[in-house]
C-alpha cells in the first residue's frame, strides 16, 4: 500500500537497532522478489483544485494505457508490472517542488507531467538542478502537454522530453490553415496575460505577416488569467473591430467563457484555438459552437485512422464511460518510454534518455513519430479539427459533439529549427 510506504519513508532509517534489523529483514525479503517489483512511474498533475479535471483525465488515460498494453500482457522487462503513482501538484509551481521531493523520496525516477508551462519550466529546472547535484539519483521528465517553445529551445534540458508539438509548431499549421482561407481579411488575437498567451500573440502576428501580409491584425488583447468575470466587453471590441476571425490560446473556464460570449453576441466568425474540447468544454459549447470552433492538435480526431486506435477508444470508453481519450499523446509517450526500457533492459533514466533520443516509433494510429535528439522535441502529424456533431464516431463528454479533422500536415512538414544548446551530462 501507498500509505505504509509513506510511513517508512518518513520514519526513514530509524536509529533504533531493533527497528533497523527488522527493516533490514524486510529489505532482504523484498530484494529476493525483485523480479516482481513493479516499474513505478510518477504522474504529476493537478488532481485536486480548479484544474483537477484535466489532470484526472490524464491519469486515467495513463493508467488505462499501462494496463491495456503491458500489465494485462504480463508486464515489461520480464514480468514487471507498471505502477502509476499519482502526485498532486495542484498546478502550482510551489507544490510541484514539494511533490518532486516526494517523488525522489519515493524512489520515482520517471515523471509524467503536462499541465501548465509554468509548472513544466519549474519542474525542468528543478530536475536539472537535482540531477546535477545527485548524479546517481537522476529523474526524467516526460512532458506530454506543456507547449511553451522555450522548454525545447533556450531552456532545453537533457532530462526533459516533450511529446506534444510546441506552440510555434502548432501555430505554424494553424496559420497555414488560416492563410488558405481567402475570406479572412482581418484577425483578432486575444489571450491570457502570461507566457503562452504572449507566445500565441507574437508568433501569430509574425507568421500571418509572412504568409498573408494582407490580413490585418485588428486587435491584440491580453486579459488576466482566470480573473475575467464577463468576456462581453472584450467581445464588444472584437465586434467593433470588424474581425473576420479570432485566435486564442485560452484554456479552461477562460476558453469556455470567451467562446460563449462570442457566440452569444451573435458574431458569426470562426474561432481558432488550442484547448476548446473535452473536460466539459465540448458539452458546454454544444450546438452553438458547431462549425465555428477549430482546434490545432497532434494526431487525428474523427475519423480515427486505424482499427487499433478505434478499439483502444472503445475499450477505454467501456472502462471509463465518463471520460474520453483526450490526449492520445500520453499513450505515445508511455509506449516510447517502455520501448526505451525494453531496448536498454533497464529503468535507469540516463539510459532511457539516450534510447529515446532520435527514436522513431509507430503509434497505434499507424503513424511514425520522431523524437529529435538535439532538443528532445517530438515530431508528428498535426491536424486542425472542427467542433461539430456530424461524422463524429467518438464524441466528447458524451454530448454527441466532437472533433472532425479538416486539415492534416504530415510529420516532415512540421519540423522547425531549434535554438537548443543542450548541456549533456557525462557518465
Amino acid at each position: 500500500m501507498k500509505n505504509s510506504q509513506l510511513l517508512t519513508k518518513i520514519f526513514g532509517s530509524c536509529r533504533k537497532p531493533l527497528l533497523a534489523i527488522s527493516l533490514g529483514c524486510v529489505f532482504i525479503i523484498s530484494n529476493t522478489s525483485s523480479a516482481q517489483e513493479p516499474v513505478r512511474i510518477a504522474f504529476m498533475d493537478p488532481l485536486s483544485g480548479t484544474f483537477a479535471s484535466i489532470g484526472n483525465t490524464g491519469k486515467t488515460i495513463l493508467e488505462f494505457a499501462a494496463d491495456y498494453f503491458y500489465n494485462s500482457k504480463g508486464g515489461i522487462l520480464g514480468g514487471r508490472m507498471i505502477e502509476i503513482v499519482p502526485l498532486d501538484n495542484k498546478q502550482s509551481p510551489t507544490e510541484t517542488q514539494l511533490q518532486f521531493r516526494r517523488a525522489i523520496s519515493d524512489d520515482l525516477h520517471i515523471i509524467f507531467q503536462g499541465n501548465s508551462s509554468a509548472v513544466a519550466s519549474t519542474l525542468s529546472q528543478t530536475i536539472s538542478r537535482h540531477n546535477r547535484r545527485n548524479p546517481e539519483q537522476e529523474v526524467l521528465q516526460i512532458n506530454y502537454s506543456a507547449v511553451d517553445p522555450i522548454l525545447t529551445e533556450d531552456n532545453c534540458s537533457f532530462w526533459h522530453f516533450r511529446f506534444d508539438a510546441h506552440a510555434n509548431m502548432k501555430l505554424d499549421i494553424l496559420t497555414d490553415f488560416i492563410a488558405a482561407d481567402e475570406d479572412i481579411k482581418s484577425m483578432y488575437i486575444i489571450g491570457q496575460d502570461y507566457s503562452f498567451g504572449q507566445v500565441v500573440s507574437d508568433t501569430t502576428t509574425r507568421l500571418l505577416n509572412e504568409k498573408r501580409p494582407d490580413i490585418e491584425i485588428v486587435g491584440n488583447e491580453f486579459h488576466p488569467i482566470g480573473q475575467v468575470k464577463d468576456f462581453t466587453p472584450y467581445v464588444t471590441k472584437i465586434v467593433s473591430s470588424g474581425a473576420d476571425a479570432v485566435i486564442t490560446g485560452n484554456f479552461g473556464a477562460d476558453m469556455v467563457s470567451l467562446a460563449r460570449s462570442i457566440i452569444d453576441s451573435g458574431l458569426d466568425i470562426p474561432i481558432y484555438t488550442f484547448y476548446a474540447a473535452y473536460d466539459g468544454i465540448t458539452a458546454t459549447l454544444g450546438e452553438s459552437g458547431k462549425d465555428r470552433i477549430r482546434l490545432v492538435h497532434n494526431g487525428v480526431a474523427n475519423p480515427l485512422p486505424t482499427e487499433a486506435r478505434k478499439q483502444f477508444n472503445r475499450d477505454f470508453k467501456i472502462a471509463h464511460p465518463n471520460s474520453d481519450v483526450t490526449q492520445p499523446r500520453i499513450v505515445n509517450a508511455l509506449q516510447m518510454v517502455v520501448t526505451a526500457m525494453e531496448k536498454t533492459q533497464s529503468t535507469d533514466p540516463y539510459a532511457i534518455a539516450l534510447a529515446l533520443e532520435d527514436m522513431r516509433f509507430t503509434t497505434m494510429g499507424g503513424e511514425e513519430i520522431w523524437m529529435r535528439g538535439e532538443d528532445h522535441q517530438i515530431f508528428q502529424q498535426l491536424s486542425v479539427s472542427v467542433h461539430t456533431d456530424e461524422g463524429v464516431e467518438f464524441d466528447a463528454d458524451n454530448s454527441g459533439f466532437g472533433l472532425v479533422t479538416e486539415y492534416q500536415v504530415p510529420m516532415e512538414e512540421t519540423i522547425l529549427e531549434s535554438s537548443c544548446q543542450m548541456r549533456r551530462p557525462r557518465r
Binding site: 519513508k9 488532481l47 517542488q97 514539494l98 547535484r133 507566457s195
Partner: protein
C-alpha cells in the same frame, strides 16, 4: 541568559530543530521539515499582527512574497557575481525588504485596526498579486523566477547543494527569528501592542499613540515575514506569484488561527499541523481539502482559541490536580467521536470512489452494496448519539474539575 527564564525550553526547541533530521532522514521528511521551519517563522510573524497586535490582515503574504522575490534576485546576483556574499545572509535580505514594504504600507494602513485595516490589507494584497503578473520582468510572470543557491562563497566547505544542509540553515534562522519574535513581546513596544489590541483607547490615555504602536508591530511583522520569504527562496531556489497572493495569505491566517491566536506557541502548533496535513493528507485522499475545510470550521466553532487555547484551557484543572477527573470522560466521549469521524470519512470516500472494492483502514468495503451504506450510516448515527450523550457528562466533569473550591471563593 537570565531573561529567558525558561531557557531550558529554548534549548529543547533548538535541539529538537537540529535533532529532527537524525530521526527523520528521508528526503521527504527533510522537505517537510524545511517547510515547517519556514511556516513557523511566517505564522509567528502573522501572529505578531493578529494575535499580539489585533490587526486582522488578509494580505500578509505580500511581505513574505516580496522578501522571497528579492532573495531570489539576490541569489541571481550572486550567481552572476554582481554581489559576493554567503547565501547564509539571504534571509536577512528578505527581511530587510519585508521591513521596507512594511514601513511603506504600514505608514497609511495602520491608522485604524478592525475592518478598515483588514480591507486595506485585502486590497493591497490583491493589488500586488495582480501587479506581479503584469510586471513580469521582475516577478517572472506565472512561472516566477529562479536562482541557484550553490554559488557564492561556501561555508566551512558546505555549498548548500543538499536539502539537508539548507534545513540546518533554515532551522538556525527559524530559531533566531523565533527567539527575536519572543523577545519582541518582552519589550515595551511588544507589550503596548498587546495593550492596543485589548483596548486602543485606554492605551492612548497612558500616553501612547495606538497608531504608532500598531505601525511598529506591523513593520516588525513585515521583517519576519520577509525572513520567512528569504528562507523559502533558499529552500526552493525559486518563487512565484502564488507566494504573495491571497491563497498564501489565507493559509497563514488558518495556521495562526487553528494553532491558537495570542499564545506564542499557537502559530507554531498551527504551522506544524497544517504543513503536515498539507503534505501528508493529500496522499491519502483526493478530498483532503474538503476535510481541511471541515476541520477548520469545526475548530472555529468549537475551539475558538485554537489548539493552543484548548491545551491552555486545562491549565486550571492541571494546577488544581484535577486532570484525572477529566481523563475518563474524555475517553468516553473520544471513542465514539473517533468512530463517528471514521464512519463519516468512510461514507464520503465511498461515495467518491469508482473502484468496486474500497480499501479502508484494512477493511474491504463494497460501495455497490446498500448494506455497507446502511451499516456505516447506522454506526455513524449511533456514535453521534453516544457523543451527544456523553458530552453532558464531560461537561459536568469539566465543571467539577474547574470549580472554584469553597475556601478560595471566600
Amino acid at each position: 541568559m537570565a531573561l529567558l527564564k525558561n531557557s531550558s525550553i529554548w534549548i529543547a526547541f533548538l535541539v529538537t530543530l537540529l535533532g529532527l533530521p537524525l530521526v527523520f532522514d528521508s528526503i521527504l521528511a527533510i522537505s517537510i521539515m524545511n517547510q515547517i521551519a519556514i511556516a513557523i517563522v511566517f505564522a509567528l510573524s502573522y501572529n505578531m499582527l493578529l494575535g499580539q497586535g489585533g490587526m486582522l490582515s488578509f494580505g500578509h503574504a505580500v511581505y513574505f512574497g516580496l522578501g522571497g522575490f528579492l532573495s531570489v534576485h539576490a541569489l541571481i546576483l550572486i550567481e552572476f557575481e554582481t554581489m559576493v556574499f554567503s547565501i547564509l545572509w539571504i534571509p536577512l535580505i528578505g527581511g530587510v525588504f519585508g521591513l521596507l514594504a512594511g514601513v511603506f504600507i504600514g505608514s497609511f494602513s495602520t491608522h485604524k485596526a478592525g475592518t478598515v485595516f483588514a480591507m486595506i490589507s485585502l486590497g493591497i494584497g490583491e493589488l500586488i498579486a495582480a501587479s506581479s503578473l503584469i510586471f513580469s520582468s521582475f516577478f517572472g510572470g506565472e512561472a516566477g523566477i529562479s536562482g541557484d543557491r550553490t554559488f557564492g562563497p561556501t561555508f566551512f566547505g558546505f555549498d548548500f547543494a543538499q536539502n539537508i544542509e539548507i534545513y540546518y540553515v533554515a532551522a538556525v534562522w527559524a530559531f533566531i527569528a523565533t527567539v527575536f519574535m519572543y523577545l519582541f513581546t518582552q519589550t515595551p513596544a511588544g507589550r503596548m501592542a498587546n495593550a492596543v489590541r485589548d483596548n486602543p483607547e485606554r492605551a492612548e490615555f497612558v500616553g501612547y499613540s495606538s497608531r504608532k504602536v500598531r505601525f511598529i508591530s506591523f513593520c516588525a511583522s513585515g521583517l519576519f515575514a520577509g525572513i520567512a520569504g528569504g528562507l523559502f527562496a533558499l529552500n526552493y531556489e525559486f518563487i512565484t506569484e502564488e507566494n504573495l497572493n491571497a491563497a498564501t495569505s489565507g493559509r497563514v491566517l488558518l495556521m495562526a488561527y487553528i494553532g491558537g491566536l495570542g499564545y506564542f506557541i499557537g502559530p507554531i502548533i498551527g504551522a506544524v499541523v497544517l504543513t503536515l496535513m498539507n503534505s501528508l493528507l493529500s496522499n491519502y485522499s483526493e478530498l483532503w481539502m474538503l476535510y481541511l475545510g471541515i476541520m477548520f470550521l469545526l475548530t472555529v466553532m468549537f475551539l475558538p482559541r485554537g489548539f493552543a487555547g484548548f491545551f491552555m484551557m486545562h491549565q486550571l484543572a492541571w494546577i488544581r490536580g484535577n486532570m484525572k477527573m477529566l481523563i475518563k470522560p474524555y475517553i468516553i466521549t473520544g471513542i465514539p467521536a473517533v468512530l463517528f469521524a471514521v464512519c463519516v470519512i468512510a461514507l464520503i470516500e465511498m461515495s467518491h470512489t469508482e473502484d468496486e472494492v474500497f480499501h479502508y483502514l484494512a477493511l474491504e468495503l463494497n460501495p455497490a452494496s446498500p448494506i455497507t451504506w446502511i451499516v456505516l450510516l447506522g454506526i455513524a448515527g449511533g456514535a453521534f448519539y453516544a457523543v451527544k450523550r456523553s458530552l453532558l457528562q464531560l461537561n459536568d466533569a469539566w465543571e467539577t474539575a474547574n470549580a472554584i473550591p469553597k475556601e478560595e471563593e471566600a
